[in-house]
Each structure stands twice: as structure tokens, then as C-alpha cells.
């Protein structure tokens, strides 16, 4: 397959793949929307000295998202009725729930440090939460690609469909690279913007421990084990 042929093929499939990327965004937004309020509640509980809050946060950090996606896909029923309301568990919702578990752990830790700053009247430091939260959204967008393994029609799943449909061995590399480009173009600028905003905030704040709050944005809730909490909880 020549480069010109490949580009033509990618052009043809772009709307199909773009729709898939919208699914990635949708699943990620749902995960953040489910995980964030629960995480904030846990952070408040922890601020009040609750052991349950700490324990639940710890539990949320442990399971790998990839395993949880399978777990929810297999274990959760197709629909349940809660107090007369029917909830339909489509595959994308199961994926969002699995991702939300990681979000809970992340938000609980970061909101806790924010709440502590607020309590000390350090408004600007408390705002560090926002860029960190957005950066985590970017991480979740990348992690949402794993929803493909349970059949959510997001971009990786669709990339596999395209490869199967074109049936050309040479197409594989092109299609995967193109799908990667979508992630790169979405995630990179957003993540750069967030680190700039954080630097701005740091410039305004006067706490030295702020320096530690940036690290290499690990995947899947690992950042709870990372720097910000160490800095905040020790101070």
C-alpha cells in the first residue's frame, strides 16, 4: 500500500473513526461525572477523620482499570431497577463505571489536599485541583481505549473494524498510527495547557511544596501514590 493509497483510505474512514473518538470522550466524561462527586464525598469524610473514607479511597486505587472493565462487563446485569427506575447497563456505561473507580481514588486524594489548603485560607493552592483534574481527564480519555475489549464502538474498536474491512495487511500500521494521532492531538495540547495553568498558579502561590505537584501523569489512578499527596499531607 503506497502512502497516497493509505491516505485516501484514511480519508474515507475518518468520519467513522471520528465518531468512535466521540465515544471515547463520552465514556470519559461519564467516568469523570460519576467518579468526581463520589471522590469529593470521600475527601470530605477523610477531612472529618473518617476511616471508612480512607479505606474506600485505598480500595478504589487497587484494581487495574483493564481488569475492572472485564469484571463489570461480565458481572453487571444488563439492567437493574433501583427504586422503580430502570437502569440499562450498556457496554459503554460499564466501561465508564470501571474508569470511574480510578477517578474516585484520584479525586479523593486531590480534593483532600485542596480542602486542606482551603481550610488554611490558601485559595490559590486549592485551585491546583482544577488543572490536576483536567490532566486526569486526559489520562482517562486514553484509558477509555480499553473499552474496545468489551465491544464499545470507540476509536480503537473501530480501527480494528476498519482493518478487518479493508483486508489489506499493509493497512494495519496506517490505521493504528492514525488512531494514535487522534489521541495525541487531543491529549497533548490539553495536557500542555494544564501544566501552563498550573505553573501560572504556582507563580501566584507562595508555597514551596507546590513544585512537587507535577509528575509524569501516570495512568489508571496511579497518581494517588504520587507526589501531591506526600507534599500536602506532610505539611
Amino acid at each position: 500500500m503506497t502512502a497516497a493509497q493509505a491516505l485516501e483510505m484514511l480519508m474515507v474512514w475518518t468520519p467513522f473513526l471520528a465518531e468512535g473518538f466521540l465515544w471515547n470522550i463520552l465514556v470519559s466524561i461519564a467516568a469523570m461525572a460519576i467518579g468526581t462527586p463520589i471522590g469529593i464525598v470521600l475527601a470530605r469524610l477523610r477531612l472529618a477523620g473518617s476511616r471508612t473514607g480512607a479505606w474506600l479511597t485505598h480500595a478504589a486505587r487497587l484494581p487495574p482499570t483493564f481488569v475492572l472493565i472485564f469484571y463489570f462487563a461480565y458481572i453487571l446485569p444488563r439492567e437493574i431497577s433501583l427504586a422503580g427506575v430502570e437502569i440499562h447497563f450498556a457496554a459503554w456505561l460499564k466501561a465508564a463505571l470501571a474508569l470511574a473507580v480510578a477517578v474516585i481514588g484520584f479525586v479523593s486524594d486531590n480534593a483532600l489536599s485542596s480542602l486542606r489548603h482551603l481550610r488554611r485560607g490558601e485559595r490559590i493552592e486549592a485551585l491546583y485541583f482544577l488543572p490536576a483534574w483536567t490532566t486526569y481527564f486526559v489520562i482517562i480519555v486514553m484509558a477509555s481505549s480499553t473499552a474496545s475489549v468489551i465491544g464499545v464502538p470507540e476509536i480503537v474498536y473501530r480501527a480494528n473494524t476498519v482493518i478487518a474491512a479493508t483486508g489489506e495487511a499493509g493497512a494495519t500500521l496506517w490505521v493504528y498510527s492514525y488512531a494514535m494521532l487522534w489521541f495525541l492531538l487531543f491529549c497533548w495540547p490539553l495536557s500542555c495547557l494544564m501544566s501552563r495553568i498550573r505553573d501560572r498558579l504556582e507563580g501566584r502561590g507562595n508555597e514551596a511544596d507546590a513544585k512537587a505537584s507535577h509528575h509524569g501523569a501516570p495512568h489508571h489512578g496511579a497518581s494517588q501514590h504520587g507526589a501531591p499527596q506526600h507534599g500536602a499531607s506532610q505539611s
Partner: protein
């Protein structure tokens, strides 16, 4: 000639006679639903596949459409795969499965198989033309690609002593065969025949089919729908409708269908069908395919385990079965090795990358910046696919092969290594060059972030299952595809990973206490 004309006219008229009354189906069959949800394959030409418009089509789709028409409901098709089809049926995602599902004793314990089967076939092995494998016995000790959830994997491993590497989808197994990751691809004979009819596979050949078994429609449980389907398929065999479908889709006439049609067309002295449902809505013994691939033999403690399953629904039978048990134990070892190798690899990449990022030489710094951005800003799952299938495909064209487990180790090391490199470079920037004990101070400063990304990479090893590395997720989903013991396997899987993550957290904390804080 006259005989022919009679047969043709009977074949034309019979369906009309038989289909017309069948339209008046008891509404109890599918309740008050106005929709029939049928699971079909999307990757199995010509049975279930996506046509040029992306719509599901094929022999099984035709069967589904006919059923919906007879029931007077609208049809909704759901694409299923070999590894998730039984699960989707059990979960109620589909009402009916028409998905090239072979009928076996083991599967009869999980779902209600419709008798008779609507089609049938055996296993074959697709081989490169120059392969040294000539007969089935040559497979002993050879590595074969397979598709998760296919009947043949277990048979080939236990009876033929082949090593099976089961992939999650047909496409992946095909690509792996092309990339010469295995000596051959064991799968249904019909699918392999279809490949060989295609110019893409001109250099390949197949083994003569073995392990012939019927393919059955499946429903979750016994009931009016199951009985309706039993009778409908029997009627189709009598009218020859299935043979005509076979012809429509240009399949070779299958031995199974020819024999089944003969059997179901037999009549007794009074002119009634020999195969009639008895009072318990069962077919007489002589009409049933009881020569199925047998269930595993259970004895001694095995019966206790079966009792546990039947009484409490806790199905541990896979752990009694030596094949599944050793697969699971092997998977635990693989996961551990993968985790250890990826942690060490990511630390090495992190230190080297950190040094490059801090380098004054543009030629070192710039590529390091590009690579760390690339690996941090794209999903690791795509990275695995890109390297294994994309680059692996290119290499295969030049006669080289990539080993899935090495691909996983390298990709995961680079992925986590990119985060480590940035953490180490930032820490190095914060410690003056002439500070005493500089490496230790850099390590201490970068430690929390590095620990975070290492824990993360241990979790991400689960993704290696996507390229058929036989780790825990892969082993668990394979066992579920065979046994359907979803709850037990998923909880065991989750528990294994949580234990692994706790162990890694503990090891890192210990390292911090003993080494860094001294």
C-alpha cells in the same frame, strides 16, 4: 428425470405447506416482546459477517430473519464473538444465539442447545504451503494459533498435545498466522475453507477436517421458545431450506446437513415423521446427536466440586480439570514475570531517558522529548496493537517474527519509562550538580512519582491479554468461554490483581524505608 421433477416440486411446495401454519406462533413463545434479539457472528464469512455497507449478513443472519418473520416480531442483530457469545446469552443481551456454536456436552450444561443442529462441521488447521505438518498427528508439540472460546483449542491441547495460543478474535489469529507467530491456525473447517477460496491465502493449505459436530442455535433456558426452535429447525431439515441456504451462500455441501436431512425426512409406516416430539417435548433417542464431544470426566473430588457448583452455583470445575488448572497457574507465573520485567524495564528506560532529557546535546534531548510525549500521550493498548500487528506484520513480510510477550514487555517498559524519565529529569533539575550524594537525593525526590508509574505498569500488564499473552485476564476469559463460571473466575481474577498491586506497593514502601530514608 421424473424423480428429479418430483423432488424439486416437493421441495418447492413443502415449505409453503409447512411455513404457513407455523406463522400462527403461540404468543407465549417470546412473551409480549415486539423484538427478537439474535446474537450472530460478525467475523465469520459466509455465516455472519459485515457486508460492504457494514451491515450484518450471512447464512445465520438469514436464519435469524426467518425466525423473526415467523414470530411476527422485528429483528435486532447483535454481533458476538466466540469468546463472549455464551456470556451474552447468559446475561440476557441476546434472546437467541445463532453463532457457529458447536454442540457439546459441556456447553449443554450452560445453555439450552436447540436440537437438531442447523449446520455442522469439524475442525481444520490452516497451514502455510511449505509447512512440515501433513497429518493431525504432526501437530504434537507444535504451536498453533486459535480463537478464544472455540471448541478445538482444548481438544488440540489435550488430545493432540499441541500448544495453543488463543487470540481474542478471528482477525487477530489470522494476523498472527500471517506473521508466523504459530505453525498453523486451528479453527472451524468452514471458516478455513472460506479463507482458502480467497486469493489472499493462495499459499496456504488445510488439514482434512476432524471432530465433526453439529452447530446448534442456543437459548438461555428451556421453555416455549426452545421447543418452538426445536420444531422449526426440524422442519427446515425436512423442507431442505437449510440446504438451499447453503447453496445461496456458495458453501460446499456439508456432510452433516446431508445426513441430518435424510434422518429427519424419514417417515414411519403410517406416513408420520419418525422424529416427533414426545410427551415431554423431547425428540426420540434415534433422532438425537448423542455422539457429541464428551464432557470432561469427573471422579473422586471432582464430583464434590460438581456438587458445589450445582448446589451453590460456585463453579470451581476448571480447577479440577488439569488442562484449565495448568493454564491458570501458568498465567499467574506469566503475569508475575511480565510485571517484574516491565518494572525493571521501565526503571532502566526512565534512568536512560531522564539522562537524555537533561543532556546538553540537542541530538539526545530532542528524540527523548518526542518519544516521552508520544508514549505518554497515546493509549498503551494502541501501542501494543501497533507494534504487534502493525510492525509485526511488516517484519513478517521479511521473514522475522515478534514474540507477543517480548512486545508486551518492551511496549509497557517504554510506556511507563516515559513517565519515569520525566520524573527523574525533573528531580535531577531540582538537585544542584555539585550536591553531595546526588543520585540518592534524585532517587528520593523522584521516588513517589516513579512508584506511581511502576504500580501503574503492573496494573497495565493485564492489557497484554489483548495480544494473546497468556496472562491472568487471558486465562480467566478463556476459562469463562469454556465453562461459563463468570462470577467465580472474575472474583478470582480481581483478587489476584489486587494482591499483586498490594505486594508491589509493599515492596516499594519497603525499599523507600530501608534504602532511601537511611
Amino acid at each position: 428425470m421424473l424423480k428429479r421433477i418430483i423432488i424439486v416440486s416437493v421441495a418447492l411446495v413443502l415449505p409453503l405447506l409447512l411455513i404457513l401454519p407455523a406463522r400462527a406462533v403461540d404468543p407465549a413463545v417470546i412473551g409480549e416482546r415486539s423484538e427478537l434479539v439474535v446474537g450472530v457472528k460478525a467475523d465469520y464469512r459466509p455465516f455472519g459477517f459485515r457486508d460492504k455497507e457494514g451491515e450484518l449478513a450471512g447464512l445465520e443472519v438469514d436464519i435469524a430473519a426467518e425466525l423473526a418473520r415467523m414470530l411476527g416480531v422485528t429483528l435486532r442483530l447483535v454481533a458476538v464473538t466466540s469468546s463472549d457469545r455464551l456470556q451474552k446469552l447468559a446475561a440476557g443481551d441476546v434472546d437467541i444465539l445463532i453463532a457457529t456454536l458447536g454442540d457439546t456436552m459441556d456447553r449443554r450444561r450452560l445453555v439450552r442447545m436447540i436440537e437438531p443442529g442447523y449446520y455442522g462441521g469439524g475442525a481444520s488447521v490452516l497451514l502455510p504451503g511449505d509447512s512440515s505438518i501433513r497429518v493431525w498427528d504432526d501437530l504434537k508439540g507444535r504451536e498453533l494459533c486459535g480463537v478464544q472460546g472455540a471448541l478445538w483449542n482444548r481438544l488440540a491441547a489435550t488430545r493432540l498435545l499441541a500448544e495453543i495460543r488463543a487470540f481474542g478474535s478471528v482477525r487477530d489469529a489470522e494476523l498472527a498466522l500471517r506473521d508466523k507467530n504459530c505453525a498453523g491456525w486451528i479453527y472451524d473447517e468452514a471458516a478455513i475453507r472460506d479463507r482458502l477460496a480467497d486469493a489472499d491465502w493462495a499459499d496456504y493449505r488445510m488439514l482434512a477436517p476432524e471432530f465433526i459436530s453439529p452447530w446448534a442455535i442456543a437459548v438461555a433456558r428451556d421453555g416455549p421458545l426452545a421447543s418452538f426452535l426445536d420444531e422449526t429447525v426440524a422442519m427446515w431439515l425436512r423442507t431442505g431450506w437449510l440446504s438451499r441456504l447453503e447453496e445461496k451462500w456458495q458453501l460446499q455441501p456439508s456432510t452433516y446437513l446431508q445426513q441430518a436431512e435424510l434422518r429427519w425426512r424419514q417417515k414411519d409406516e403410517t406416513g408420520a415423521w419418525r422424529c416427533q416430539l414426545d410427551d415431554n417435548a423431547r425428540w426420540p433417542l434415534e433422532c438425537r446427536d448423542l455422539d457429541l464431544i464428551p464432557a470432561q470426566e469427573l471422579a473422586g473430588i471432582g464430583t464434590a466440586i460438581v456438587g458445589l457448583r450445582d448446589r451453590f452455583g460456585v463453579d470451581l470445575t476448571p480447577f479440577y480439570d488439569p488442562f484449565s488448572r495448568s493454564a491458570f497457574l501458568k498465567a499467574m507465573v506469566t503475569t508475575l514475570l511480565l510485571a517484574i520485567a516491565a518494572v525493571i524495564g521501565s526503571l532502566a528506560v526512565g534512568i536512560a531517558g531522564g539522562a537524555m532529557l537533561r543532556s546538553h546535546a540537542w541530538l539526545l534531548r530532542f528524540p527523548a522529548q518526542m518519544l516521552t510525549t508520544f508514549f505518554r500521550m497515546t493509549p498503551p493498548l494502541l501501542q501494543l496493537y501497533l507494534v504487534f500487528f502493525g510492525i509485526g506484520g511488516l517484519l513478517a513480510a521479511r521473514g522475522m517474527t515478534l514474540d507477543a510477550i517480548w512486545v508486551a514487555i518492551i511496549v509497557l517498559s517504554l510506556y511507563a519509562g516515559a513517565s519515569n524519565a520525566i520524573a527523574i529529569a525533573e528531580a535531577a533539575a531540582a538537585i544542584p550538580v555539585d550536591a553531595p550524594q546526588r543520585p540518592r537525593r534524585i532517587a528520593t525526590l523522584a521516588f513517589p512519582a516513579v512508584m506511581g508509574s511502576c504500580i501503574n505498569i503492573v496494573k497495565a500488564t493485564a492489557m497484554a491479554s489483548a495480544i494473546a499473552v497468556g496472562e491472568l485476564v487471558h486465562a480467566s476469559t478463556s476459562i469463562i468461554a469454556d465453562y461459563g463460571n463468570v462470577g467465580v473466575m472474575m472474583n478470582i481474577l480481581l483478587a489476584c490483581y489486587v494482591a499483586l498491586v498490594i505486594a508491589v506497593v509493599f515492596a516499594f514502601s519497603l525499599f523507600e524505608k530501608k534504602v532511601l530514608e537511611r
